[in-house]
C-alpha cells in the first residue's frame, strides 16, 4: 500500500537530493555536460568566508526566531485554549497572516520599511541589526499564528482535573501555568521547535525580497547563498555543494533536537496516564 508514496518520495525527494550531491562534485554552468572536478567545490565551500558568515547568520536567525516565536505563540496558544468570549473570532483573525504567501508578506513589509513613505522613518534595511530584526519580525508575523495553533491544541489536551486539583491546593494562575501548563506542553514545544528550526534553516523568500542578503552580505543565510551561486552566478556545482551541506546540517540538527528533548523515546509526560 505504501508503494506509491515511496515512489513519489524517491522521485521527488531522494532523486533530486542524490543528483544535487553528484553535481556538487562537478563544475556546471547549466549548459552542456557537467565536468567532474572532484572535491573542488567542497574545498572551496569549506574555505569560503561566506560560509562561516552565512552559518553564523543562519544560526543567529534560527535562535532569535525560535525565542521570539515560541514565547509569543506559547502565550497566545494557552490563552486561545481557554474559554473567553470572542476567543474563536479573535483566533481566526490571528491566523490570517499564515494564510498569506511569504512573497506577498515580504513585499508588503518591504514597502512598509521604506524610510520616506513607510511606517519607520529610518534606514532599517540598510543597517545590519535593522535588516536582521526585520527578517525575524516578518518571519514571526507570518508563522506565530501557526505555532499558536499547535500550542492551542496542546493546551486543550491538558486534563482539567490537574487544574482543579491545583486550585484546591491553593495554587494561583501563575503557579498553575509554570507547574502544570508548561511541563505538559513539553512535547508540543519540541514539535513546534523542530518545525521552527527547520523552517528557519530553509528560510528564503523574505531574505530575497527584503534584503537580498544585504547590507553587503550581512543577512546572506545559507539558502540565499545557494540561490545566489546557482541562479545568479550559474555555478550549479557550487550551489549543489551548499545545498548538500544544508541537508546534512539540517538533518543532524533536527536529530539532535529530538534526541536532546527526549521526544523520540515517546515518554509520557503525565504521571499515571
Amino acid at each position: 500500500m505504501a508503494l506509491p508514496g515511496i515512489l513519489f518520495f524517491v522521485f521527488f525527494a531522494v532523486g533530486p537530493m542524490v543528483l544535487a550531491f553528484y553535481l556538487s562534485f562537478t563544475q556546471w554552468n547549466g549548459l552542456g555536460d557537467p565536468r567532474p572536478v572532484g572535491l573542488a567545490n567542497w574545498r572551496k565551500l569549506l574555505n569560503d568566508d561566506r560560509l562561516t558568515q552565512s552559518l553564523t547568520v543562519t544560526v543567529a536567525l534560527t535562535v532569535v526566531s525560535w525565542v521570539f516565536q515560541t514565547v509569543i505563540s506559547l502565550l497566545l496558544g494557552v490563552w486561545a485554549a481557554g474559554r473567553q468570549r470572542n476567543r474563536a473570532v479573535l483566533s481566526a483573525i490571528f491566523f490570517t497572516p499564515f494564510l498569506l504567501s511569504s512573497t506577498a508578506i515580504s513585499l508588503l513589509f518591504y514597502a512598509l520599511l521604506d524610510p520616506n513613505f513607510g511606517i519607520i522613518h529610518a534606514d532599517t534595511l540598510g543597517t545590519t541589526s535593522g535588516a536582521f530584526l526585520a527578517i525575524v519580525f516578518v518571519g514571526g508575523w507570518q508563522f506565530i499564528p501557526f505555532h499558536t495553533l499547535i500550542y492551542q491544541g496542546g493546551a486543550r489536551q491538558i486534563p482539567e482535573v490537574l487544574y482543579q486539583a491545583a486550585a484546591i491546593d491553593g495554587a494561583g494562575r501563575l503557579r498553575q501555568f509554570f507547574s502544570i501548563t508548561l511541563p505538559q506542553l513539553r512535547n508540543t514545544a519540541t514539535t513546534s521547535g523542530v518545525l521552527m528550526v527547520v523552517g528557519s534553516l530553509t528560510y528564503f523568500e523574505t531574505v530575497l525580497i527584503l534584503t537580498q542578503g544585504g547590507p553587503g552580505t550581512d543577512t546572506a543565510i545559507l539558502p540565499y547563498l545557494m540561490y545566489q551561486a546557482g541562479f545568479k552566478s550559474y555555478d550549479f556545482g557550487y550551489a549543489s555543494a551548499v545545498a548538500s551541506f544544508l541537508v546534512i546540517a539540517a538533518t543532524a540538527l533536527s536529530l539532535l533536537m529530538v534526541r536532546l528533548s527526549g521526544f523520540g523515546a515517546m515518554r509520557s509526560t503525565r504521571e499515571g496516564m
Binding site: 534584503t211 547590507p215 552580505t217 541562479f231
Partner: protein
C-alpha cells in the same frame, strides 16, 4: 543520444533546484524538435506588447511563408528571465530565438556553441546591415562578431533633475564635477537631499561607479575588465571613483536612508518626483516610470542632462553608460534558421520602429531620427537619440558586460562600498580577486 538524455536528466535536476527560487520548468515549447513553429523567449514587461505585434505581423507575412516557419512568443516574468533562460538553454526545450542584453549576458551561450554567428548574415543583408546604429549593433556581439539584432529602445543612463527645485534655488544643471558639488552644498543647506538613490536594489548604485570610472579614467578602463583582465580593477580610476562615491555618501549627497529605498517598488522615483530629492541618476526608462506614476511631474518638471565631466579626467562628457538596447539572438540548435533570420528582419522595419516610438522608446534603428516627432515627448526622445548617436563610447552596464559569476559578487562589493562595510581600498582589492 546517450549524452542527450543525461543532459535532460540533469536539466530536470536543475529544475528541481529551481523550484526553490519559485521558477518552474518551461512549458511544452517546440524547442529544437523540428517542425515549423519557432519559440521566442522575451522579457515579459509592458514593452513586450511590441514583440507580440511583431510576431503576429511576421506570422502573417510572405517571408514567413517562404521560410516555412511561424514564431510563438513566450513571455517570461521579468525578474526570473535570466535564470529561466539559462535553465531552458540547457534543456531540449530551448527557445529558437531569445531576448538578451548582448555582451557578457550571452558569453556562456557563445562559449557553449549555442549561438548562431550573425556576422555574415548581417553583412550580406542590406536591411539588417544599414538598419541600426553601428555602435549599438556591435554592442550586441562579442569579439568583433555579431550575435544579436537590436529589438528594443535604447537605455542610456541620464542625470535627471527636478526643474522646479532647480528654479527655486536658482540652480543650473551641472556640466562639471565642481558645479555638481556646489549644487550639492546648496541643496543640503536648503534641507533637500541632492540625489535620490534606490540603494536596496544595488544596481542603481552601480550606475554611479560606471560613470565615475568613465569620466575619471575613460572607457578603456572598463573595456580591459570586460575583456577578462581582472587586474583592470586595479586601475587608479577605479579607486578614485570609489573614493568619490565615499565622499558623496559622507557628504550626505544621497541622504540617510538610501539603503532601504528601492527603485523597483517605486521608492526612489517617488522621492524624486515629490521634490524630496533634486536629482536622480537613472536609465532612460525613468521617464516612462515617472509618466506612469507622476504624469504631471514627468511632463512639466522633469529635466535631464549628461553626467558631468570631471576636471583632469580622461573621459569625454559625451561618453555614455547604460544598455545600448536589447537583442534577439538565435539558438544554434534551431530547426529553421531561415525563418528565425526572417523574423529578426522585422525589428528593422518602419512599423516596428513606429511602435517603439509610440511606446515612448527611442529605437536604435537608423531611420528612427526622422520619426521621433511622433514620440510622446519628442524633446526627450531627440536628446536621447543624439546622446547615443554622438557618443564616442557607449559602455554597457557592468553587470551585463561581465559574466554572471563575476557580476553577482561585484554587485555585493558595490553594496558593501555604499553601506560602508568596506573602504574604497578594500573595494578595489576585492574586485581584483574576482575571476
Amino acid at each position: 543520444m546517450e549524452s542527450y538524455s543525461r543532459r535532460w536528466f540533469l536539466g530536470a535536476g536543475a529544475t528541481a533546484l529551481a523550484s526553490v527560487g519559485g521558477l518552474t520548468a518551461c512549458g511544452s515549447g517546440s524547442g529544437s524538435g523540428g517542425g515549423g513553429t519557432l519559440t521566442a523567449f522575451v522579457y515579459g514587461d509592458d514593452a513586450a506588447k511590441i514583440q507580440v505585434k511583431s510576431v503576429a505581423r511576421f506570422n502573417a507575412s510572405a517571408a514567413a511563408k517562404k521560410a516555412k516557419g511561424t514564431v510563438k512568443l513566450q513571455k517570461v516574468p521579468a525578474t526570473d528571465y535570466p535564470a529561466k533562460l539559462r535553465t531552458a538553454m540547457g534543456s531540449p526545450n530551448a527557445p529558437d530565438v531569445f531576448f538578451n542584453w548582448g555582451g557578457g549576458s550571452i558569453k556562456a551561450y557563445k562559449d557553449a556553441g549555442q549561438l548562431v554567428d550573425l556576422t555574415d548574415v548581417i553583412a550580406s543583408d542590406p536591411v539588417l546591415k544599414s538598419g541600426f546604429l553601428p555602435s549599438v549593433l556591435s554592442a550586441g556581439g562579442l569579439d568583433g562578431k555579431n550575435y544579436g539584432v537590436p529589438m528594443r529602445g535604447m537605455q542610456p543612463v541620464i542625470l535627471f533633475y527636478n526643474k522646479t527645485v532647480f528654479a527655486e534655488h536658482k540652480l543650473q544643471p551641472p556640466t562639471t564635477w565642481d558645479q555638481l558639488l556646489d549644487i550639492n552644498a546648496k541643496l543640503k543647506k536648503a534641507g533637500i537631499t541632492p540625489f535620490a538613490l534606490g540603494g536596496s536594489d544595488i544596481w542603481p548604485e552601480l550606475m554611479w561607479l560606471e560613470y565615475l570610472v568613465d569620466r575619471i579614467g575613460g572607457p578603456d578602463v572598463f573595456d580591459r575588465i570586460k575583456n577578462g583582465d581582472a587586474s583592470g580593477w586595479g586601475d587608479p580610476a577605479v579607486l578614485k571613483a570609489a573614493q568619490t562615491v565615499r565622499e558623496l555618501i559622507d557628504d550626505g549627497a544621497f541622504g540617510k536612508g538610501y539603503s532601504s529605498v528601492g527603485y523597483g517598488n517605486g521608492g526612489a522615483p517617488a522621492v524624486f518626483a515629490k521634490g524630496k530629492a533634486a536629482m536622480h541618476l537613472m536609465g532612460s526608462w525613468e521617464y516612462s516610470t515617472q509618466l506612469g506614476k507622476f504624469p504631471d511631474f514627468a511632463k512639466k518638471n522633469l529635466g535631464w542632462c549628461a553626467f558631468p565631466k570631471i576636471e583632469g579626467g580622461a573621459g569625454n562628457i559625451r561618453n555614455v553608460v547604460g544598455n545600448p538596447t536589447n537583442y534577439w539572438s538565435v539558438n544554434a540548435r534551431t530547426s529553421n534558421k531561415d525563418a528565425a533570420i526572417a523574423f529578426l528582419r522585422d525589428s528593422a522595419s518602419e512599423a516596428y520602429t513606429k511602435e517603439l516610438i509610440a511606446n515612448g522608446d527611442v529605437p536604435a534603428t537608423s531611420n528612427a531620427a526622422s520619426l521621433l516627432d511622433a514620440s510622446p515627448n519628442p524633446e526627450f526622445a531627440k536628446f536621447q537619440y543624439r546622446m547615443v548617436q554622438d557618443a564616442p563610447a557607449f559602455t554597457l552596464s557592468w553587470d551585463q558586460a561581465v559574466a554572471p559569476n563575476v557580476s553577482t559578487p561585484m554587485l555585493t562589493e558595490v553594496n558593501k562600498l555604499f553601506v560602508g562595510k568596506s573602504s574604497p581600498e578594500q573595494f578595489v582589492s576585492a574586485l581584483k580577486g574576482l575571476k
